[in-house]
């Protein structure tokens, strides 16, 4: 059968492709929970802001706002021109908030990726190979547990100089420890399953067994820990920024809180601090909830008797 492949035909084929079908049915299941759907919407907005924020913001984030007399608008409360007022330097808070989505979310995703990446390599190797490998890697993990996060970050940053990327890297290099342990225990369980044993006894290579049999069955766990890692990185980096160990020229939300604190208006200028703190919390909550939602459906999927 060789039909001329008209665009409609190709679209039809694409629609029937199992991957598309899988994604479609997966999404439907994912969105069947109201709470999850809500946070999907919030998340979409956040990502949208992160990408298009600079274009949407009414003002430049570092543009000093002045009234018609040319006076600087310092810590003005919200008004029609400045929805969230201005800060002590006369910058528009709303614009800064919109700009701040990008570095904040980028920080989170990068941190989450590093955390899960290292955690997976260490945890899966330790759990799968066992023996000496396990001992060495797990002692390394125990050692990582002994590292106090904030002080170490401060010292390292002080040594290498303050930077946006280096701080994320440091957070990732310390926070993988919890993941590694959980992933290891997960692997220990999965590798006792009979389909894993069967594959091994068929002569499958270790890489094959890990990629085809172990990782797919950790999917829910990986996504959940990626979400947790993302949230945690955002929180910790906001904390570091607040303490002054993040690049102050990148307008992340943490930096906003720091400047608010330093200006001495933190208690009075609520329009400056509350939305910023709220944005951080909302982002972290959103990422957590999305991870939870995913975990819920993967569990439902594997526990279901009949689909």
């Amino acid at each position: 059968m060789s039909f001329p492949s008209s665009p409609g035909n190709r679209l039809q084929r694409l629609r029937n492709h199992y991957l598309f079908q899988n994604i479609k049915s997966g999404l439907r299941l994912y969105l069947s929970d109201n709470v999850t759907s809500f946070f999907v919407v919030v998340f979409t907005i956040l990502v949208f802001l992160a990408i298009f924020g600079p274009m949407l913001a009414p003002y430049q984030y570092d543009e000093v706002q002045r009234d018609e007399n040319g006076e600087m608008l310092r810590t003005e409360p919200p008004s029609a021109d400045h929805w969230l007022g201005t800060n002590a330097r006369g910058y528009d808070v709303f614009s800064r908030l919109v700009y701040g989505a990008q570095p904040t979310i980028l920080t989170g995703f990068l941190g989450g990726t590093i955390i899960v990446g290292i955690g997976l390599v260490v945890g899966v190797s330790a759990g799968y190979f066992g023996g000496q490998t396990d001992s060495v890697l797990m002692r390394l993990t125990d050692f990582a547990y002994g590292i106090p996060l904030i002080p170490t970050a401060i010292v390292v940053v002080a040594y290498f100089g303050i930077g946006f990327w280096s701080t994320i890297l440091i957070i990732g290099l310390v926070l993988w420890r919890g993941n590694a342990r959980v992933f290891r225990s997960q692997v220990l369980q999965i590798k006792e399953r009979e389909h894993v044993k069967a594959a091994k006894m068929l002569g499958a290579s270790d890489v094959y067994v890990i990629v085809r049999h172990i990782l797919p069955n950790m999917g829910g766990m990986i996504v959940l820990f990626f979400a947790l890692g993302t949230g945690l990185t955002i929180l910790v980096s906001a904390g570091l920024a607040f303490l002054g160990f993040m690049d102050p020229f990148i307008p992340s939300w943490g930096i906003m809180l720091r400047t608010a604190y330093n200006s001495g208006y933190v208690a009075r200028a609520w329009w400056w601090t509350l939305p910023t703190g709220g944005a951080i919390s909302l982002t972290v909550l959103t990422v957590f909830m999305l991870g939870r939602g995913y975990e819920r459906i993967t569990q439902a999927d594997t526990n279901q008797v009949q689909v």
Binding site: A198, K200, L202, T302
Partner: protein, 705 residues
């Protein structure tokens, strides 16, 4: 069943589970009654509603379960509407007590048995501590435990003793009814036998009725007075065990009986019941067995069938609307099957006369020991103070010779080393000593490509059908995997062929299903297909049917038996269940504590067992026949500890025929010699003849081991 004052009456009971999708009626219109002091069995496949029924009686339903109709009367009084507080005060423990399914784990490990008993007595009676302990001692005596041990902690008891302690506990407050939900399912055949023995003995000493729930119809026939057979939430048939055995009137009962393996007739073909038990919906209107029944009529699906007494026997009830004709129908059906089977058997190679070729897998004195030192303290002690612990001798000197196209069984209690043996064969453990030869080459000489080759030619089928497939794989991907790993052509046609061979028809329907869309039996068929797709020469099977229902068991066993012929493979079938092994195997090895104690052709082993252990195993199997008067096995204690083996014969401490020589000279079943029936027991050993010639050599060998 008719009695003036029944102890427990269940009438038209409906139990419904509320789930998010829909309501599920797990028990539909169930009725039965138990007389005082009667042992009553409730039997059916998994998912038939038998446990739900028992939970409804004792208020143990899950939160979403609810009694939606009918009555439960205990001693004439309705109890289904009691509040849980009233139930706790009036009924639980005092009147109805429970022997839980996993008796091993239901004692609190942190509390003395006596304290646990006192706790129960405090909650449900006004007995003093002294009275409770007095009572408990009495009961310990009854179940054959030393009275002095009531103050022990559970871990000080062996498995069998815990089991008996649980029986004693359940009878503590002198209940009139004891409910036992699958109490023997997790037990070895010998432990099950002892459990049943004590339960049976109690009948004469105590007054109580028993509701015994199990899937094992043989156990019911053996120990109960009456029974009810359940299917799909309905009571299919009820009556005394003799009535049901002699004149079953419900097709399910008839087929179930035919499906049940019986070691007395290893040549009998096992019946399989097609289909799986139905998943019940919110309402049941029709006989739930109709879809699986060879004799169903349109009328069977119109309205739930009433549970009626037979005309000639008011105590015998059945819910089959064709029960009058059933006797004749069954006779015709079975006769018909027999004739077709007879021709089939002639056509295919008969099991006992199957020609077997040269040996494909040879084990010579194979051992696998495990080092028990696991913690730092132990290893320091071992290293610096020389207090080395003796290793766990899981597999200890096994000789075995598997010929081409032969099916051999290995049976033994759990912990006898049979699983370790399989894993050692598959190269998961390196042998501590001894040799495995595959096709004439020792595995020690294998290099990487030899191993790969070995893994193509030797396949394994596992026990647990429920995680034999990767939940992310379809059937197609599962079967593709062996081809992919061995770099063979991924032939869709081959996959269809092998699916047909394992009777998953039509293959198209199964190719794209995932694990969650297959039943237990179907999953096990996929596992068999995965093992066969590479056309191996040897298949190792690790209890492949032990987790399946009886109706499915039969068909899988038959499938395995047929496929070994069709694919020309040899099989090593490992199990603890002699009755299923005997249906598949040409030859059976009996394993005890890492050693093979007897090796004989199947029929010979079943009819003329030699080793006392084999005899005990055979004797312990419950017979699915109430007229058969089986004697309980007399095998004291549990299997020994593989890290602390006695001198001489390993079995001597439990052996009824122990002799002096057993203390010093163990015997082995070895690969040498041509005798068909090999036994490692002095009872069958010509000591006179040996004394002259080989004695010196023999003794030397013994001391060196």
């Amino acid at each position: 069943m008719a009695h003036d004052n029944p102890l427990l009456e269940v009438e038209n009971l409906d139990v419904t589970y509320r789930t998010r999708e829909q309501d599920i009626k797990a028990v539909a219109g169930a009725s039965f009654s138990i007389d005082p002091n009667e042992y009553f069995g409730l039997v059916g496949e998994s998912g038939c509603g038998k446990s739900t029924l028992a939970q409804a009686v004792i208020r143990g339903l899950d939160e979403n379960g609810e009694i939606t109709g009918g009555e439960i009367r205990y001693k004439g009084k309705e109890i289904q509407d009691l509040s849980s507080k009233e139930f706790n005060e009036q009924i639980r423990w005092n009147e109805i007590s429970v022997i839980p399914q996993s008796a091993m784990n239901s004692l609190n490990p942190l509390e003395r048995i006596s304290d646990q008993a006192v706790e129960v007595a405090d909650a449900h009676s006004n007995w003093s501590r002294e009275k409770t302990l007095e009572k408990l001692r009495e009961l310990f005596d009854v179940v054959g435990l030393p009275e002095s041990r009531v103050t022990d902690y559970p871990h000080q008891f062996s498995g069998g003793m815990k089991q008996r302690a649980i029986i004693a506990m359940s009878l503590l407050l002198e209940p009139s009814l004891v409910i036992a939900d699958e109490p023997t399912t997790a037990l070895d055949v010998i432990m099950q036998d002892q459990f049943l023995k004590y339960l049976d003995d109690l009948r004469e000493i105590r007054d109580f009725g028993l509701l015994f729930i199990t899937h094992d119809i043989a156990v019911i026939f053996e120990i109960c007075d009456s029974l009810a057979v359940m299917h799909g939430g309905q009571i299919a048939e009820g009556g005394t065990v003799e009535d049901i055995f002699d004149t079953p009137r419900h097709p399910y009962t008839i087929l179930l009986q035919q499906a049940f393996p019986d070691v007395r007739y290893p040549d009998r073909e096992l019946e399989e019941i097609s289909g799986i038990p139905p998943t019940p919906g919110p309402e049941i209107d029709g006989c739930t067995f109709a879809d699986r029944c060879p004799w169903s009529e349109p009328a069977c699906r119109e309205g739930a069938p009433p549970l009626n007494s037979l005309e000639d026997d008011p105590g015998h009830v059945t819910s089959c609307i064709r029960s009058d004709e059933m006797e004749q129908l069954a006779v015709d059906y079975l006769a018909d099957r027999e004739s077709t089977e007879a021709t089939e058997v002639e056509a295919s190679a008969d099991r006992s006369t199957r020609t077997t070729g040269e040996s494909v897998l040879e084990l010579e004195n194979l051992s696998r020991h495990f080092d028990p030192t696991s913690n730092i303290v132990e290893s320091i002690r071992a290293r610096f103070f020389g207090e080395e612990q003796s290793p766990v001798r899981a597999v200890d000197g096994i000789d075995l010779d598997l010929s081409r196209n032969e099916v051999q069984g290995i049976i033994g209690e759990s912990g006898c080393g049979k699983s370790t043996l399989l894993l050692t064969l598959m190269g998961q453990y390196a042998p501590t000593s001894g040799d495995i030869r595959f096709d004439g080459t020792s595995v020690e000489e294998f290099d990487k490509s030899d191993w790969k080759e070995f893994r193509r030619r030797v396949q394994i089928i596992f026990q647990d059908p429920f995680n034999t497939m990767n939940p992310h794989f379809t059937v197609r991907e599962t079967l593709m995997e062996p081809l992919r790993i061995h770099g063979l052509h991924r032939d869709e046609e081959r996959i269809r062929q092998v699916l047909e061979d394992v009777q998953l028809n039509p293959p198209e329907q199964y190719l794209d299903r995932k694990e969650s869309q297959l039943s237990g039996g179907e999953k096990q068929r996929v596992a068999i297909a995965r093992a066969l797709i590479l056309e191996p020469e040897v298949v190792l099977a690790d209890e492949p049917v032990s987790m399946l229902d009886v109706s499915t068991q039969a068909s899988i066993l038959r499938l395995l038996s047929d496929l070994t012929d069709e694919y020309d493979v040899s099989m090593l079938y490992v199990s603890h269940d002699l009755s299923t092994v005997s249906y598949v195997c040409d030859r059976i090895n009996v394993m005890y504590l890492g050693r093979i104690v007897e090796n004989a052709p199947t029929l010979e082993l079943l009819t003329d067992p030699k080793h006392p252990y084999t005899k005990a195993l055979l004797q312990a199997i419950p017979m699915p026949d109430p007229h058969y008067d089986r004697e309980w096995t007399q095998l004291p204690g549990a299997a020994g500890d593989a890290s602390d083996l006695p001198q001489g014969c390993r079995f001597k401490d439990r052996c009824p025929d122990r002799m002096e020589i057993c203390d010093t000279r163990p015997l082995y079943v070895d690969g040498d010699g041509d005798s068909v029936h090999k036994t490692a027991c002095h009872l069958y050993y010509d000591h006179e003849a040996i004394a002259d010639g080989e004695a010196a050599e023999e003794i030397e060998e013994v001391t060196s081991r």
